[in-house]
Amino acid sequence: MSVNPKQRNPTSTSSGRRALLKSGSGATLLAVLSAAGLLRSRSALAQSWNNAAFEAGAVNEALKALGVADPRQSTDIAFVQTPEIAENGAVVPIGVTSNIPKTESIAILIEKNPNVLAAVFELPVGTEPAVRTNVKMAQTSNVIALVKADGRYYTATKEIKVTLGGCGG
């Protein structure tokens, strides 16, 4: 599990990468460069994909990268169809429903995963504030549902016990 964080997400669709590809240096050089952590994109995907948030190794780091300040605990956020105990950490169903008016987005964070942020769902007006998906969990952990509603942030936490990790190898 001790992987250099720079190697975790070799995300690189920056113009730099395209320039490299055009220069004929090819995929091998690209692989070497991205393995060396030299190609971390901060520009092209920054708007659609929050690199810093998804690479964060701790909840407070991820919240900071998401621009979340001072989230409040809320009993109006519920985990639905979410197990207490997951036998297989590779596929853990998580459902989050928010009863907070004007919910704009729902994010799922897994405290003890190597990268804590699992997913962010943006919900336009007209979309119900409830999402379900399946995630991977490395080990037993608190799972945090983060809801943005009317410009404010709210959280709810649930511990899910994992009997077999989803991060094997």
Binding site: V3, N9, T11, A119, N134, C167, G168
Partner: protein, 103 residues
């Protein structure tokens, strides 16, 4: 090219329920192969869902979303025959769009 998504869009009361299964490895970048080499991360980063060309959901995903991702949600409105399109883009820049009609 990745395999098609399996999309179910059905009217439930005054809403439409979307259930989708995507076909993707969702490799975390944490695992090692038999030779001890790291397997590079390969995962869907963004997902958008439109109903008659109106955005009803957009998502950003990390490596923790499970292999062959499942997603379910509902939006208000929608009638039988309306078009629903789902697009994902992964960290290699691969992209796939599938469409269905609400049934």
């Amino acid at each position: 090219m990745a395999d098609p998504m399996k999309i179910r869009a059905s009217v439930v009361g005054d809403s439409t329920e979307i259930k989708v299964l995507m076909s993707h490895e969702m490799e975390t970048g944490q695992r090692k192969d038999a030779k001890g080499q790291s397997i590079p991360a390969w995962f869907i980063q963004s997902v958008t869902v439109t109903w008659n060309d109106k955005m009803v959901l957009s998502a950003q995903w990390g490596t923790a979303v499970a292999k062959n991702p499942f997603l379910s949600f509902r939006f208000k409105g929608g009638a039988k025959g309306d078009r629903v399109a789902i697009t994902w883009t992964d960290n290699r820049g691969d992209k796939r769009t599938d469409m269905t009609v609400i049934g």
